[in-house]
């Protein structure tokens, strides 16, 4: 009798817990009890990230100078009008796209090649992988100075010396081809990131499917094009989108390697906005540019979010 009641009680409890996980049929008190642990993080994030953004929108409608804080004047959309006619802004926007896409695509191609090479068993594979991920772990500021000074310097840079061995005259990379120089440092840093994501994808391939393919007589090339590539697609998409989100904000390399120069030839949007705000002290303009950048980012971000959500199966589980 006692065992029966405890069994019934435990069954009921388990059922309650399952119902609770579904999140349906909850009392008002229970709902607030559940929100409790979430609220500190949520409120903190709203205050620290959303309030400054609202202030940015406010500033973007005003003419305001950092040196004269009382010079606040409502100007409507004049700042946005100025942006449209600002050719430097357009140049910076183009540079942002070139740098971001150039870096992400080259890094992804190299990353796929390296991941495929690392997916084969060979002695010392762990060491090779460790060497390959290291560029990603270097502090971006450190890697910027490493590239601009030790590698690309026209008089003592190692890269130019290496080119000299095959008879190419030294090139002042950061002033002659600033975007190429920045891309070298960025691709070097981001290739390991792509490689790690693709490698995780390769190693998550169901082994029985690969075996079945080989039993059915599929050669390595057919297995790769028919099984591995479709399987990798999701990982490649995720890598490209995450890469875009991170790389579009690139600031360190540009600030340290070229300072946006020569002139504004290699300035991307984050660097140009920084210049307008902290060197030009023009808050209204900088804020309006920030708003434009956010609007542009939203499109990429939406695609990225949809993909991340799909990878997580958020909808199905919660």
């Amino acid at each position: 009798m006692t065992t029966l009641t405890t069994q019934a009680a435990s069954a009921r409890r388990a059922q309650e817990l399952r119902a609770a996980r579904d999140g349906r049929t909850l009392s008002r008190a229970e709902r607030w009890r559940r929100r409790g642990p979430l609220l500190p993080a949520l409120l903190f994030t709203i205050v620290v990230t959303q309030i400054p953004f609202l202030v940015t929108i406010w500033y973007s409608l005003h003419s305001r100078n950092l040196l004269r804080p009382d010079s606040d004047l409502f100007v409507g959309f004049a700042n946005y009008g100025d942006i449209v006619s600002d050719s430097t802004f357009r140049g910076a926007a183009v540079n942002s796209v070139v740098i971001t896409l150039g870096c992400v695509l080259v890094a992804m191609v190299l990353g796929i090649v390296l991941a495929l090479l690392l997916d084969r068993p060979f002695r010392g594979r762990g060491v090779a992988r460790t060497l390959l991920i290291t560029p990603f772990l270097i502090m971006p500021v450190a890697s910027s100075v490493l590239w601009s000074m030790a590698m690309l310097n026209p008089t003592y840079g190692l890269f130019n010396w290496t080119l000299g061995l095959v008879g190419i005259d030294p090139v002042d990379w950061t002033s002659t081809y600033p975007i190429v120089a920045i891309l070298m440092a960025l691709v070097w840093q981001w290739t390991p990131f792509m490689m790690l994501l693709v490698l995780a994808g390769l190693q998550a391939q169901p082994k029985d499917v690969l075996e079945a393919a080989s039993v059915d007589g599929a050669g390595p090339w057919r297995t790769f094009t028919w099984i591995t590539m479709p399987h990798l697609r999701r990982y490649v998409e995720l890598g490209v989108l995450l890469g875009i989100i991170y790389v579009v904000n690139t600031f360190d390399q540009i600030y340290l390697m070229t300072a946006g120069g020569p002139g504004t030839a290699s300035a991307n949007l984050p660097f140009y906005i920084y210049q307008r705000a902290f060197l030009g002290f023009d808050v209204g303009q900088a804020a309006a540019m920030g708003v434009v950048v956010v609007i542009a980012t939203i499109f990429v971000a939406m695609a990225a979010l949809r993909l991340i959500f799909r990878s997580f199966d958020v909808k199905e589980r919660s």
């Binding site: 435990s10 399952r18 994030t45 940015t56 991920i133 100075v145 000074m149 991340i308 990878s311």
Partner: protein
Amino acid sequence: MTTTAPATTAPRAAAPGGVRRPRRRTAGTLLTALTWILAIGFFFPVAWMAMTAFKQESQASSNPPTFFFEPTLDQFRAVVGESGTYVANSLIATGVSTLLVLLLGIPAAYALSIRPVEKVGDVLFFFISTKMLPVVAVIVPIYVIAGQLKVLDNIWTLVVLYTAMNLPIAVWMMRSFLQEVPAEVLEAASVDGASLLRTMRSVLLPMVAPGIAATALICVIFAWNEFFFALNLTASQAATVPIFIVSTMTSEGLFLARLCATALLASLPVIIAGWIAQKQLVRGLSMGAIK
């Protein structure tokens, strides 16, 4: 069944094998060689930075480059002597912000997985969308507000900002780890009459400890390396290690060896942490999407 399967496939594989295998082995050796060449090529700039850090300045910026030299610790001695405040600031900004992220993020992740609130998807969406907001779009108001609150060049300003910067990643990561805790385990604990706090401490915590470590690692990497906020919001009091590197750069005269020693020491904590926790790195960088 198990015995017949290899029997039917074996002859097919063996017949052409006699011709193919040596060729395939050569191809394999070539691919392995290529892998090593690429791995060493990618690592070489780091090795060069480390080598340069042990040189005298005249050897560091020589043309042709100096490959053989007598290593010296002079540069490291100088760097360690000058960098004290910067390192202390970086340790505070990184350590305290990571701790705060875990304190805020773990309960939030719990409320988004084990005992979920309504509209979990929306909350997750909000958190991650803040990561997509370009930092440069909010730097001006943050600078002005910090100025009005008199917290410019204050390390605690960086602590707050780094916490906000890493919190969304931590919530997503911790949620993906908490969701792996099987429902049966929690049910069993609850059926056995364990209190909520006890369940958390003795059942949940040990199961997700590796997840907490992975989350902390990612937060430490991002906070330690952060440059943009530090550049714009600090001056002499609250400057962090990345700022120290830049300040080395602007000093007069020959400085490449000194710079490399600084860059190497600054990167070393993250390099070592990343080497040790390679697996967690992948999961953290994809915000938990890739296991």
